[in-house]
Every structure is written in structure tokens, then in C-alpha cells.
Symmetry: D2
Subunit: 500 residues, 4 copies
């Protein structure tokens, strides 16, 4: 009770800290000013800019040295949590510039904004911030895909009831299910990669959208900031602020769709009624009033966040629509929208990975349901068609009847007597003896027969796993290369900065 | 420069504080925890609940007295800014209960949650909070409508170029324009009233959605909380959390559509190219780099906020869609969504009122444009039809030609020679002498001829004003009555609370 | 097989025609031109306009008579399906006018458009069309609410497992569940009523948004068209085209949220795993390949349509945002959006009513689940608090323990031994004998104890039913009055039309 | 008048047929059944499937030959417009199968559905359809980008007023503006390429999501259908129906954002007030009532369509959210949503290309506005900083003052006297003689000074053009390769089909 939680003793385990923060969310936590998370990026950008200005003799060496010293100091203060944004100054850019002016006087500090506009400054800060987020999503997705592939391996031969329309469809394996989600999440990962390939360009130097008469070197700053190169048209870079935001928003929303569908699937499979899984207690919550409760709160929250993400994509697209030429302040709100969306969704892959990894699988119920609701009928139908060379459409008709008759016998699989009667009525010829009917409805046997690419047989799943691992590796290598490039740029900056 | 603003001397006036906060927005300001704004409502609800429990002998007099004392003390602390939410406790409800337990021990504090669930507690808090917001919107809209009617009166006879498709359509009056927006905003106000009529019901006592065996009195608590009565079905009240939020969201978005359209209209009319208005400097912003700038930032922000509102409505609706029976945690996110939306949009009517009231009207450009672009042709066309008894479709054909010919003469109104030629070619008979052609294109004269209800003549506009004032008065009275009812409930609570 | 359906013999009943059309949807059916559904409204408007023009001597009696004759003839043709829109003519308005010109020559037909603009003409047509849709929704909702109240009555004493978070929460009654949805749908109905109260105004005569110099009588045409009166500002009426569309869109989306949640609830309760309901075969579909299938397709479609509705609301709001002064063609798309949305959603209440009315209730499973999963624990907890005068928070702690211990005994309700142990450990005093523990977990008994307004006891539900019936009656009367007013207007028009 | 258009003689040119269809839209045109556009794809898929079945001995050669003959015949009928969907049969799949059964009897026709489910059949049809649309968008975008680059070349040295916040910002060149849009549209093109790289996979053979026991060869059918390969997990392919649709929807919406912003920019620049452009008459519309009108209807429609697209993306994402495992019928609606969205937006790039190519540029107004509103002040400021080695922040302060003083003199550029006064007041040292002040405000000179990458100087724009052409060529080659691959697959199919 000490923690002020209104439930507890029914649980044998303490809630995961991640899950706790996840569910209490913004109830008791404030949200930092938007520009707070831009501070390090703003400083990085300013340092690169100053070094470039000095190399181009736009600033003197002394001016540059002092400005760099000041920027470094702000960074140190910030790392110690002692550089706070003053709400009396409009934004992070004003805060930094004011600090330098206060420290070194107008003669020095007043030169920081040379060949620069807040328009390209915030565009730069956002690219750097979003790039880090894209890479973080990729890392998180690689981790959760790892968990899913592991589960896929572990359960690749465990029969499991497959559904369509919330109704039993065909037996599959639990491994097949996990791997389907791995497959989807790797596509999601690809969208973040696409984002990076499209937007890892340097807007700095675009100014207000119309360039500058100062002899700046945008290729040089691109190198110090880890970009592939400068954006090739200054107007485009400024006018379309909000486009990288919208595309990342979509990538997140698409990912959230898969994660929310996994969440919904786990919620249902964890009900007593389905009873296939049990959530680890660390990811369940109690109730303030109902003593028996073990609720899948974290999973519900994921669903809510997916809904939130979609609305934010909608707003992001809305702001960019029908915009008149040049920068318009409307786009400032894309900053808040994407930050809110990222705040909501960045922790989701991790918690999903933990939930899946800690899930308890209840074999008995799974086995029982793999044999009920005529879930094995489609495979028997295929056998009838294959063995009897019977037109599919006719055989299906017969099987439908067989199910009707079996149901009247109280059975939940097709009985040989019912099948015989149905085939007879449809004048079809297939030796519906008990052994055959049983064999082609045996859940282990039937999943192993679906051997084509993408199918449920152990061999097909092995192939799926191999392919997933290969893709995953390719992405890992790409991610490592990206990170190396960024580190290299930072080192280059440090060096240059020391040299000046 | 002291304020850290990166622009200034070009302005003779200081920016409005409201405008400054409006545009720097969340860049340098943090957002309080969501439940912080629920504290007073949570306390109000708990006090009403405790009084009721005592009257029903569910609590003893002594227990109730202590709890009420504690709740009052929390309220005092909160008023002084000294009751802060502890992020270690899940939400406002846990925070309050824990405080009471810490103060009075489990024997007393542990009874607060009797006959209560967090489900109905938060539903109650949100209703109280949203009700206050609805009434505040109504008050703000009454104020901005007041400004618009005033402007409508002032400019009811001032000719003004009317547009369709961004192209000159017909001369109207500036008064007609302002009154059109007043009309629209009064409809918006009506939606907040509808909200209040629909949702001013007390969910307290719905518990988890399934009621309680305690002999609670929901009619009584409704009186203490200023509600029309209790919600009539406990499951509905809990299951549909998020519906009042979505409906208020829509009401806000609809209002924002009108305000953003007014904003867009003012932005264009304030360009040098149109040149009809000049924004007061207090509502304009400069640039960090371009010294000449006087930008309509506040108006652009209104447009952005309208886009944000729409996305949030979308998320609110999304969360409520396809929900399984009973409370689901997904709906907790409706709290954040509606709070964010209200934070963004509550200040908008006020700033719009100030902008409109302080706008400078540039008569010369307005007059010039009321005479150009063949904007008076439709009225001349009507005169030709009326006076000449000519079929409209034929007359229009002739007038189109007359415009073509006048244009070739370099004119921007129809000339009598061009009209004569066109009528002759179409074998139509109308005495197109110069005086008539001039008269029926005189902007003052033609706006005064449109006398039907809704038209632009001074008399028609007077009628529009009378009607608007009547509606406005009706809403004012309704608002006053609502506020009285709420105050009365609060007084009743104070009394009862003192009595216990 | 004749019908080309790929499934069948497994079903003993034929699919409902409504369900069939509902699910095959637009796959094999084309969508009529948008303006086709505006034909009758356009004719109505033109007839009222012509009569008014004659009374105001803008048209001669002879002109009016011929135009009215022509309009009547078009209506006759249309009723016989022989007035088809010619895609060579831009819209319904041009089609009608061209027909009259072809029939009576330019001298007569060319006068139809006198004192009129397509802007106010389409605004009028849409109001008339939307008004009919609003009233139709109200009628459909009254019908489905009727079904739900009936079910509520029938099952008001049938215990039923109540859920929160997809987990067993508390026993309720099936009646309570049905009535919750009735309650929600009556609120939805209220939104259509609000729409009608707000928008049943006549835009005709607003012209391009700037009125007319013809001496038209808008009060008179309002009477012939069944409107409360003319819109009071011509610019507002034209500029805000799309606002009635957006508000109706929201009303539909809010309704669809409730219907989709009911759909989702029925889908889950109809799975074999829950097993509380069985959909009537007429509302289930088979599969092209899986012979055993009986899928809840219609219910899934309702969920999809709810998603579609939300996107369309989003588009409708988007079009109305940040619009420059006066009519802009963008708003033409609001016509298609709202028509598509209404096409999708108008049939939904009816099919839902049929599904609910024909549902089979499976008592055994319901009863079993009303006794499992510790679903009765909250009521036992309340009894412990009430009878033992024990602080709620302490008692809950004890009950949580009791559940843990009972679970280890393999029980799914709290056992007296477990409860005793838990109470002892918490040093609480309550005579936990078997009889008491059993009594306070008896599902019939406990639902009957929740007597407060909104609760689950038969008396509380009776009260809920009475209130619902009263509200339903009030709406029925209102609807009848609206329909009478419209009929009266139509009769007036017929009379006048005959007189001319 | 013959055409039933309500305007005309004011125009010297006839409207473009594309523009006419674009604006009258769905008013007078019906929408074909959804599955009509899937017919060719469904036939293609079935032919590939049958060939594969024969190679795998699942069908006999004779069976395959007859089925292929039938399918070919249906295709011939369809090409002649004589294969119409029968609304009595659920969808295109049933229609085709029924035709074959009717033609060849159940013994042959009844075998078409062997090793197949409607789930994978529709997934396949949609992939083929969407792939064609993606490639068509790419072709259309290549064309419009071509127009924009041409305009960019033509106007690369023409000074043009640049805006931010709808206010004059800095002089740029008209070429810079066109190239900015070319840049953006090439990014849009990239999203369609990403789509193709991600989704050009063959879902056929995924069956209901759980594979098949028939020994099918999915690699082989992939080759006949022009896919990179089979989807690697059958469940993923079926469960995530709607994901390719949503991603294409986003790609379209992002493109529409750029096109709608270009539309809005052209609308404003074509007003009399701005007066920079004149729309070709073929892309303007008149009014039914106002004789002077030349409205930019097509551009307004583009804006509306952008709003529609966003709502449809929202619906597409909504349907895919929180979906339970396996196929759910909800996703059928993704078919209608994406088809509607593509119908709306596929013609947009083409019409935009035509509008831009036919635009009249009004040099006089452009030149005038390139010299007003202190639009040249930022360049003078940069000159002051550069030449005078003055801290930017101080210089800007001085320039702000200089503008204030110049304005009071009635000037719209900074005068040397005003600048001198301002510099003096700020104790800054710069030789503000008339020649210098004039030189650094000469529009031709100043745009030529902005030489850095992305800037407005002729050289910088040349570089931009070179880069754009290179990117465009790369995409053209990629597109050609895609088309070749698809053709090759089709030839392969024809050959195989002939061989059987």
C-alpha cells in the first residue's frame, strides 16, 4: 500500500516499472517543453555552423573560438541538467543565442545568427532529432523481432487454432503465428529505413527558404552533421517542413497497427474464454475496487496509442495541405505533433517484446481448441479433392453437408458416417473410412502437409525463419553503418572544434 | 533585446502577452500532469460522496466528518499550490486517498473508496471538468460575437469586395462579412449548449459499470454536484467514456473551422496585395533574420490549431470504435486527447476577438477593389433582366460578351458601349445609356438594392443584427442560469459539509 | 449454387437479402451519379422558387405556369425512371434548366434561373436531402431502440457475466446490457434532432452569398419547403456549405461507434470460446473454401463502416478548415463525402435490429460464466465491508488474498476457508461461514442487491425501461410533428402550384 | 448553350475536356462496381494458377486446357465490354467461376478453386491492381516533373517575390519556385517506388492465411505474375490485407499535399490582387449567375481531393488497427477506400502539368512586387554585415529601424538616408551611400549573390536542375525495367498458356 497503488495482494509479482509508467502515463507526469529535446541538436548544429563560418572567413578565428567555447559550455551545463529553457525567450534558438550574448557580449554572441534563419535552424534540429528516433525505432524493432523469431522457432511444431472472422478456420502452429508478426514488423522497420534514406539531408543554409549571399559551405556542414549532403533546393527544404514529420508519423502508425493487432490478439487469447495464454503478472494490473482483477492494461494502452498515432498523422498531413508558398507558421505545430506521437509510441516495441517473451502458453486449451469447431474440415476437404480427384466445388458442397450431419451427431469434427452420407448424397466417390477421416483431421499431421512457401509445415517455417534472420541481419548491418557514420561526423566535429 | 526576442525595433508597439504565449506555445513551456486539472473536481466529487454515504449510514458521522475535514484541507493546500501529485501514485484518486490514509489512518482514510470505483470517479471528474470548459467556451464565444456584431454595426454600409473562388464576385458590405462570422459562431455556441444538455448527468455511483449493493443515493449526489440527475444506466455511463469527450471535440473542431476561415481571410486581406486590413502590431511578429517582417503569426497558429483539433477528434472517435462490452483502458487516452485539444483551443476565441477589434481598416484599397474586376457586373445583369424583362439566361450571355468587350477597352467595369454592342448582337432590347450603366454599377447603390432577408442592404443587415442580438441574449441568459445552478450546488455542498 | 454463392449446404436457412446486399456491397454494384438523388429536391426547390417569383411579379403568370408544368413533367418522368442525368451537362441544375429550355424555348426556360445561383440551389438541395436522411436515421434508431428495450425487458432478470478489460468484472443481467445500448442509441438520436433544429433553415435566395436585387420573398419559399425560416445571412449560408454535412457526419460516426461496439461485443459473445449467443444463420456467411464456416460478416462490415465514417468526418472537417471568404469549389466534395457516408451507414441500424432480434441466447454457457473467474468477488467484498463495518481498503486487501488462496485450491469463486484465512491474516473480523460466502456470491441474489439508480436489480432496470420508453415516445412525437410539417409544406406547394 | 453549360461567351477558349470531367466529377457520372477493375487481374491470376496446377499434376492437362480457354474467352468478352458482373453473384471471383461452370460444367469449372481461397485471390488481384497504379503514378509524376524542370530552366533568372507567412520575404527567381515543387514531387515518386519494392510479392497460395496441403508452386506463379517472389508467411499476407492499401494511400496523400500547395499558390498568384499569373481559359470556369467569372475551379478541386485523400488514409489505417488474428471482413472496405482514393487522385498530376505548362506569366506585376514591401531588406542587411563586419544581431536592429524610417518617408525599399540615420543611432559604421544601398537592393543582383547549394543564383539553380534531371532519369530507367519485367511475365504466361 505504500506505493499508493490501490491493488496488490492478489499478485505474486510486482508490476514491471516499464508497465507502470506505461499505464499511469500522463496522469501524474508532466511533459517537458518541446524544445528541451532539441537542445543537443541545436548545439550540434550551431557548432558545425560556426566552424564552417570560420573556414569561410565569415567569422574570425577568435570569434569562432569563443562561440565554440560557449556552445561547449552550454552543452556541459545541459548534460548536468543545468541549462533550462527560459520561457521568457521564445525558443531554444533564442535561449542559446541570448546565453552567448550575455556571456561574450553582442560583439561575439551577436554573430552566431550570421547566415542563418530560425527557419533552417529548426528544420535542422528536427532532422537530427527525427533521425535519432528513426534509428531508435529500428533498434527496438530488431529487438522485438528477435523475440518473435525465437518464439517462432520454439513453437514451430505446436498446433494452434487459426482463426478468420473470429471463428475457427484452420489449425496452424503457434510458430507460424509469431513469425507472421515478425514478418510484418520487419516491413515496418523498412519504412524507417526509407525515411532515413529520403530525409537524411542537411537543410542548414536554406535560410528563410531563399538562400544567403554569404559564401557558406553546405557540403562541409553536412559532413559535420552526418548527412548524406545538403538539401538541393532551399525553398523546398523550408516549405515542406512537416513532410519528414508526416512520413515518420505514418511509419509509426503502420507499426502501431501491427502492434495493436498483436495486442488485441493477446488480449483475446488471454481471456479465460479462449485461455491460450496467460500474461505475466508483471504486465497485468489490478482494480481499485474489484479484488479478482488481472487486467491486460498495457496491451489496451497499446491499442489506445495506435488510435492516437492515427489522429496525429491526420493532423500532420492536414497542416501540410494547401499551404501557400514559403514558410508558414502553421508548420510549427508539426513539431509538437510528432514529438507527442514519438513520446507515445517509442516505448511500445520494447514493452511488447517483454510481454511476448514472458507470456505463459497454456497447452491444454490450445490442444483442445485445435480439435473443435470443425477447424480440421478444410484439410479433410483438400484430402477428399486430392485423393478422390473430385472437383473442389462439389467436394466442398459435400463437406458442408457432412459438417451439418456431424453437428447433429454432437461432434465437433467430421465423422466418417456423416461424410459417407454426404458423399453419397452428392454421388461422390471417396473411401471415407474412419482411419482416413481421422488421419486427415489430425492436427499435427495436417499442419505438416502444408509444405508450400509460406505454409505451416516445419520445413516451410524453417525457411521462413531463415529468410527473416537474413533480413534482420541486413537491417542490423545497415543500422550499425548509420550509427558509425553519425559517430564519425561527431568525432570530426570534435576535432575541428578543438582545432579552431 | 532583454527579453531574448530576436526582433523588435521595427515595431512601435509591444506584442500582446496573449499573442506571445500563443505563438511560442509549447516550445519553452511544459505541460502539467493531466490529473492536476482534475484535483478540484475530484475533491468536489469525494465530498459529495462522503456526505451522501453519511446520510445513508454507510459511514458514521465521525468518519464522514474527518474525511470531509481532510478533503477540505487538501483543497486549501491545492489552492496554495501545495498539493502536488506524487508520480509514485498512479493518479489523482490514489493521491487523494493516500493523503487521507496517511493523515487519518486506514480506519478512516480506507473508507473513502466505499461504494466507489475509479471508473465512475474519473467519469465524474471529467464531466465536471468538461462542463466548466463548455461553459467557458460559451462565454468566450459570446464575447467574440459581441465584437463581431459591433463591427457589423459599424461597417454595415461600407461597400466591400465580396469573393467566390478567390475571385471578385459581388460587392457586399464589410458589415455583412462580420455578421456572417457572428452567425456561424453562434451556431458553434449552440453545440456547446447541446453538449451540456446531453451530458450534464451524474455518472457517480455507476461503479465499474455494474452498480453497487450499497444503498447509495445518486439523486442526492447529483444535486450536490449541480447535475440534472444521475445517468440512468450504469453500464452505459462507464462503457461510453470518451463519448462526451468526442462530442466536445467535434464542437471545438467545428468552431475552429470558422475561426480558422476567419483567420485565413484576415491573413489574405492583410497582405499588401489585397491591402484591406492591417493587423495591429501587438498581434504581429517579426523575424529572426528578415528585418522588414510583420507576420500574422497568431492567425497562422489558429489555422494550425484547427488542424490539430481535427486529428484529435479523429483519435477520440477511433478509441470509441468497436469497443468490447464494459470499461476498457483504451479510453484513458480520451482524457489526454480532450485535455490537449482544450488547451490548444480554449484561448482562440479571445485572441480572435482582440485581433478583430484592433484591426485597421484601409478604406482606399477597399473602395478601389469594390469597383474593379467587373465585380459590379452581376448587379447590372440583374438590372438588365428586371428592367428589360429579358430572360436571365439570354441576358447573362449578353453580359458575358459585354465584359469581354469592355475588357478589350481596358475597362474593369462594363462600359455602356460594350453593353450596347453585346445586347445588339444578342438582339436584346434594353436602353443601355451611360447613366443607367453607371447607376447599376455604383457600389453603394447596388448593395442597398439587395433587400431580401439575408441581403446586403442596410435594412436587411439591421434585421440580421436584431436577430443576432436576440439569439445572443438568449444564450447569455441560459449561461447565467447554468452558472447559478452550479453555484447553488456548491453552496448546498458547503452547507451540508459544515453540518456533518 | 445457382446464385453463384460459393457456399451454402452447411446452412439450413437462406441469408437475409439485407445481409447479402450489405456484405457484397460495392463489389458488384455501381454507385449512381451524386446528383441523381438530388433530382426530387431540385424540382421541389424550383417549383417553390417559381411560385414565389410569380407572386412577386418577377415572372408573369403565364411564364410561371409553363415552368411549373415543365417541372411537374420532369418529376413524373423521374418517378418512372425516365429522367436521367446527361453527363454532358454539368449537374442536376443544368440538366433541369436545359430540359425546360428545350421544351419551352429560351423565352420561358431561360427565366428559371432568375434570382438564383447554383450556389444557393445546391445548398438548398443538400438541406432537403440531409433533412430526409436525418429523419430517416431517427426513425431507424427508434426501431432498433424498440428491439433493444424489448430484449431488455425479456432478460432483465437473467444473470450475465459483465466484463471490464475483456476480463470478468461483475455479474450483471443481460437486460442491463441491452438497455445500455438503448440508452446510447437514444443519445445518438438526439444528435440528429439537434441537427434538424440547427439546420432546418432555407438557404434559397442567398444567391452567390451576396443576395439579390430582385424583390424575392424568402419567408414564403421557406413555408413551401417546410423550413423554420430563411437563413439570416446570405454569406454565412453559402460560405459554410459543408458544415451541416460535417455535423451530420459526426452524428453518424458517433452512432456507428455504438453500433460497432455492439457488433464487436456480439462477435466475441458469438465465438465458440465465449458461446453466449448464436447468430441467426440469415446473418452469417460461409466461406469459399472452408466448409465449416459461419462467419459474422455483417457485424464485421458494421465495424468497417464505422472506420469509414470516421475518415469521412475527417475529410468533411478538413474541407471546411481555413477557407477563404465566400464560396470555394472545394466544398463540392462535401456532397460526395456525405452521400458516401450516408450510403454506407443508413442501412446499419436496421440490420443491427434484425440481428439482435434474431439472436439465439445460450443460457448454459451464460450461467456457467456467471459463476467463474471470481466474477462474484466484488459483491462479496461489498458484503464484507457492509456487514463487518470494515474499511473498504482493508477488506479489499483481504479479498485479494482470499482469491489467491481460493485459486490455489482450484476454485473459481472465493471459498469460505480461503476467506477466513485471509481475514485472519489481515486481523479483520467477519463471520465467513459457508452459507454467507455462498449467498453473497449467488449471481441472482447479488444482481438484485444493486438497487440504486442505474443498477442491475429488476426494480432499477424497470425504472431504466420506463425512462427509456418516455424518451423514445418524446422523440417519436417530435418525429411525427416534423413529418407533418414537411407534408403540409408539400401540400401547400401542390395547391399553390395548381392555382398558378 | 448546346452543351448545357451555364456560362460561356466570356471565354474565348473552350474548356479542356480533362478539366471539365475533373470539375463536374461525380455529379452526373456513376461509379462502376469495385470489382469491375479487378476483372483483368483476376483472370491473369486464375490463368497463372491453372498453369501451375497442371504442372504440379493437380489438374489434368485437359482440365487445364479447358479452363485456360474459358478464361481467355472471358478476357476477350471483357475487352469488348461484354463481360459484365452479375450483382446476383457476390464478387468477381464468383462471377468468373460461375461462368466457367456454366460453360464447361461442374467437372471442369468446379476445379478452378482448387488450392485457392477468396482471401488470397482478392489479395492477389489488389496487388496487381495497386502495382499498376503505383507505376502509373510514377509515370505521371515523371511527366509533371518534366514540365516543372522546363519552367525552372526558362525562368531561372527571372526575379520573383518570395514569401513567408503570406508576407514578402526575399526576392527569389521564378525558376527557384518551380524547381522546389519538382524536388518535392520527386520525393513523392520515391514513395511509390518504395511501395513497389516492399509489396511486389505474390500472396497467391496463402489461401485463408494458413496455406494448403496441395503441392503448389508459389515461386512459379510469382514468375508468371511478374512478382519478385512469394510472400514468405501465409498468415501475414492475409492478415495484413489493407497495409499495401494504407501505404499507397499515404504516398498519394503526401503527393496531394504538394500538389494542393502548388494549387493554393497558383490560386493566390492568379488573383487580380497578386496578379503574377493568369490561368489559361481552358482551365478556368464561369458561373451560372455572375457573368464576369473566370474561376480556378480545377485548382480548388485539387485542394478538395487532398482533403478527401487524407480522410481515406485515416480510414485505411483505422481498419487495420487492433485487428484480431487472421482475416476479418472489415478489410474488404480497404478495397473501396483505396479505389475511391485512386479514382480521385490519379488524374491530378496530369491536369496540374497542363495548368502549369499553359500558365501565362505577367512580368510587370512580378517585377513591381519584387521591389516593394521591403522585400530586398534582408539582402541589404547581409551586405551591411558582410561589408561592415558588424555583428548580425546589431545590424539587424539597425535595419529594422531603417525600415521604420523609410516607411515614414513613404518608401517601400530602404533609403540611404534612413539607413544612415539608423546606423548612426546604433553607433554602427557602414558607408551607406546611395549607390551601395541601391546596388544591394537590386533584385537581379541580389538573387545572383546567393550562390551556395540550394540558393537562387543561376549557377546554383543550374546545379539543382542537373541533379533533378539525374534523379528523374534514374527513376525513368527503374520504371522502364519494372514495365519490362511485367511484360515479360505476361509473355511467359501467354506462351505457357498456349503450350498447355
Amino acid at each position: 500500500m505504500k506505493t499508493g497503488k490501490l491493488w496488490g495482494p492478489r499478485f505474486e509479482k510486482k508490476p514491471s516499472a516499464l508497465a507502470e509508467a506505461f499505464t499511469s502515463a500522463r496522469d501524474v507526469r508532466s511533459k517537458a517543453p518541446a524544445d528541451e529535446r532539441l537542445i543537443p541538436y541545436d548545439l550540434w548544429g550551431s557548432r558545425a555552423h560556426v566552424i564552417m563560418l570560420a573556414r569561410r572567413n565569415i567569422l574570425s578565428l577568435r570569434e569562432a573560438r569563443l562561440l565554440l567555447k560557449g556552445l561547449k559550455e552550454i552543452e556541459k551545463l545541459w548534460r548536468k541538467g543545468r541549462f533550462r529553457l527560459d520561457p521568457g525567450k521564445e525558443d531554444v534558438h533564442s535561449n542559446v543565442e541570448s546565453w552567448l550574448i550575455a556571456k561574450y557580449g553582442m560583439e561575439i554572441g551577436g554573430k552566431l545568427h550570421t547566415a542563418r534563419s530560425r527557419n533552417d535552424q529548426v528544420a535542422l534540429d528536427m532532422r537530427l532529432y527525427l533521425r535519432d528516433c528513426a534509428l531508435q525505432f529500428i533498434a527496438e524493432l530488431l529487438a522485438v523481432v528477435h523475440v518473435l523469431i525465437d518464439q517462432g522457432k520454439k513453437y514451430k511444431a505446436r498446433p494452434f487454432p487459426g482463426y478468420t472472422h473470429h471463428q475457427p478456420a484452420q489449425v496452424t502452429t503457434l510458430g507460424h503465428v509469431w513469425l507472421a508478426f515478425a514478418e510484418a514488423l520487419l516491413r515496418d522497420l523498412g519504412r524507417f529505413q526509407d525515411w532515413q534514406e529520403r530525409f537524411n539531408q542537411n537543410p542548414l543554409g536554406s535560410m528563410t527558404g531563399y538562400g544567403t549571399s554569404f559564401p557558406i559551405d553546405r557540403v562541409f556542414t553536412s559532413k559535420l552533421l552526418g548527412f548524406a549532403g545538403p538539401t538541393p533546393n532551399s525553398l523546398d527544404a523550408i516549405q515542406n517542413r512537416g513532410e519528414p514529420e508526416a512520413e515518420m508519423g505514418f511509419a509509426v502508425a503502420a507499426m502501431m497497427n501491427h502492434l495493436s493487432s498483436l495486442a488485441q490478439t493477446l488480449i483475446l487469447f488471454s481471456t479465460g474464454e479462449f485461455g491460450f495464454f496467460e500474461l505475466d503478472e508483471a504486465y497485468s494490473s489490478g482494480s481499485s475496487m474489484m479484488p479478482q482483477k488481472r487486467n491486460p492494461d498495457s496491451l489496451e494502452v497499446i491499442k489506445a496509442k495506435a488510435a492516437v498515432a492515427q489522429g496525429q498523422v491526420s493532423s500532420l498531413l492536414a497542416i501540410g495541405r494547401s499551404q501557400f508558398l514559403g514558410y508558414n507558421r502553421d508548420t510549427q505545430w508539426t513539431k509538437y505533433l510528432i514529438m507527442d506521437l514519438l513520446d507515445e509510441c517509442l516505448p511500445v516495441p520494447k514493452i511488447m517484446g517483454e510481454i511476448v517473451a514472458s507470456l505463459q502458453v497454456k497447452e491444454k486449451k490450445i490442444t483442445a481448441l485445435s480439435r473443435k469447431g470443425f477447424i480440421t474440415a478444410p484439410d479433410l476437404l483438400e484430402a477428399v479433392v486430392q485423393e478422390g480427384k473430385i472437383p473442389f466445388r462439389l467436394a466442398k458442397k459435400a463437406l458442408e453437408k457432412a459438417i451439418l450431419y456431424s453437428g447433429k451427431e454432437g461432434a465437433e469434427r467430421i465423422t466418417d458416417s456423416a461424410l459417407r452420407r454426404a458423399l453419397r448424397e452428392e454421388s461422390l466417390d471417396w473411401p471415407a473410412n474412419e482411419a482416413l477421416v481421422h488421419k486427415f483431421q489430425n492436427e499435427k499431421f495436417i499442419v505438416s502437409r502444408r509444405k508450400a512457401v509460406g505454409g505451416t509445415s516445419p520445413a516451410a517455417l524453417e525457411k521462413n525463419i531463415t529468410q527473416l534472420l537474413r533480413t534482420r541481419r541486413r537491417y542490423s548491418r545497415w543500422l550499425a553503418a548509420q550509427k558509425r557514420a553519425i559517430s564519425a561526423a561527431q568525432s570530426r566535429l570534435q576535432e575541428m572544434s578543438a582545432k579552431e
